[in-house]
Amino acid sequence: MNRFDISHAISQIELRYIEEAMEADQKFADRKEKQLYQLQKRYRPAVCIFVGFLAASLLTITAFATSESFRNTIISLLYPVYSSNEIKALDDGHMTGSFDEVDTLLSFLDRFNNEKMEFGVLAENNAGYAYSLRSYSSDNILAIVQCNIPNYKILVTLEKLDYENTAGLWQVVSYQIVTKEEALKATKNMPEYRPDMSDAPKTSKTSIDSTDSIMDVKGACAIIYNAADKNSIATLTEQESRQIRKLFEKYEDTESKSITAMGLQDLIIRYEDIMYAFSTEGDVLIMDENPISIPRAQIVLSSEDLELLLHIFYKYGI
């Protein structure tokens, strides 16, 4: 039997069988449709959530990139410590006192960094902390300290407490992480702090505008030396002595470069001489000597240091 006859025979299959076989096809189509529907039904919520999430992400990213206020809000939410206005009071166990306000502040900043008091926040220390002191009175200082988070500052509050027969003991009582704007707002119209403000005028004769100024330290030292007679020496307080010593120590890295350039090592020697004179009341061993013969040199001073020197100059009428 040839293939033609076989196909002819198969063609004679009754319509009812063909119709029956078509049902299988129809059922298959229905099943496929149902499966597709179930698939859609199952994944529709997930797809909707995904699309919503995608849209929200895109909107957030766009807003984050374009709007500064939105960006700050998000950062505030993620890192609340940076924008929190909460003042962190130091408990008694963390308070350490010193007769020197700067010393107190620097000690606190050392501990702030070492103990990681605020997660992710450190006082910036590039060969020294960058800070500025503001105050309305002689027993309260607000220090604005540069920190490692851009556009944020650490506000440190120092208070002078009465202590026995001394001028007072400085302590850090609180600190606060604030934005640069908040720091400016908090210290607006607050004058720069100067030691012993109650005795000194509220404003200095010399205003300090720049962060760093060039000061002839050697010259300044010599002026102090020359101007210091027995009476004025007697009025130099212990605090002032320490401040000057610290100032010299701070710049001790500066070495003499030539015979015409004086380094801090030379200044320290001169300082020791001065201190010797201060400490040996009535002894004029070196008082008549003229240190101006020492070559002049220029050293870069920070604004705070320059201000300290100027204050001392002013106080002693130099």
Binding site: I6, S7, S11, Q12, A21, M22, R31
Partner: protein, 185 residues
């Protein structure tokens, strides 16, 4: 549109009938023709000829199942085209189906071919009655519609291997049945 309404359109000699028939059954008809001819252009031609044949035969015919009726016309036209083309190539699903069937049809001698085909057709119809519904559907899908094993497997939601096995058993049964019926073709 319901089959009955389409038939009514045929009876009313409305050309809308052809359009509706095409909308509803074109895919199915193309599949039947495509399985046999393995050529889209030939299949389209056969399907269009089938629409014309349906137009010419309804009325007087009033088929109970319009889809089966049209598919049968398509199949017959496709087989005609297939045999016309068969000298050139043999690569369709239909070839495979015919090869499988050839093995189970008992060989006879000196019998009129046309008569033998009719007798065989009747025997196959009565054999189909003895099969289970699923086996019968598979048999018809495979040898009338010339669907591939994979298509049938997907249709019945079983594996292709399972389909092949069941069809092989059906063919063996058919061979025995035909021998028992004394059919020698």
């Amino acid at each position: 549109m319901e089959d009955q309404k389409i038939i009514e359109l045929f009876f009313a000699r409305s050309e809308e009938a052809i359009l509706q028939l095409q909308i509803k059954y074109e895919n199915r008809c193309m599949r039947v023709a495509g399985n046999i001819l393995n050529n889209r252009l030939d299949a389209e031609e056969c399907v269009n000829d089938a629409y014309l044949a349906a137009w010419n035969t309804i009325p007087p015919q009033n088929p109970g199942s319009l889809s089966a009726y049209v598919c049968r016309i398509v199949r017959n036209l496709s087989i005609k085209r297939y045999h016309a083309n068969s000298a050139l190539k043999r690569n369709s699903h239909y070839d495979t189906a015919l090869d499988e069937l050839e093995e189970c049809i008992p060989a006879g001698e000196s019998v009129e071919s046309e008569y033998a085909a009719k007798e065989l057709g009747a025997a196959i119809n009565s054999f189909l009655d003895t099969l289970s519904k699923d086996n019968r559907r598979m048999f018809v899908r495979r040898y009338w519609f010339s669907d591939s094993i994979d298509e049938i497997a997907a249709m019945f939601n079983i594996s292709g291997r399972n389909v092949s096995l069941r069809l092989m058993r059906v063919r063996k049964k058919l061979k025995k049945y035909l021998e028992k019926e004394g059919i020698r073709v």
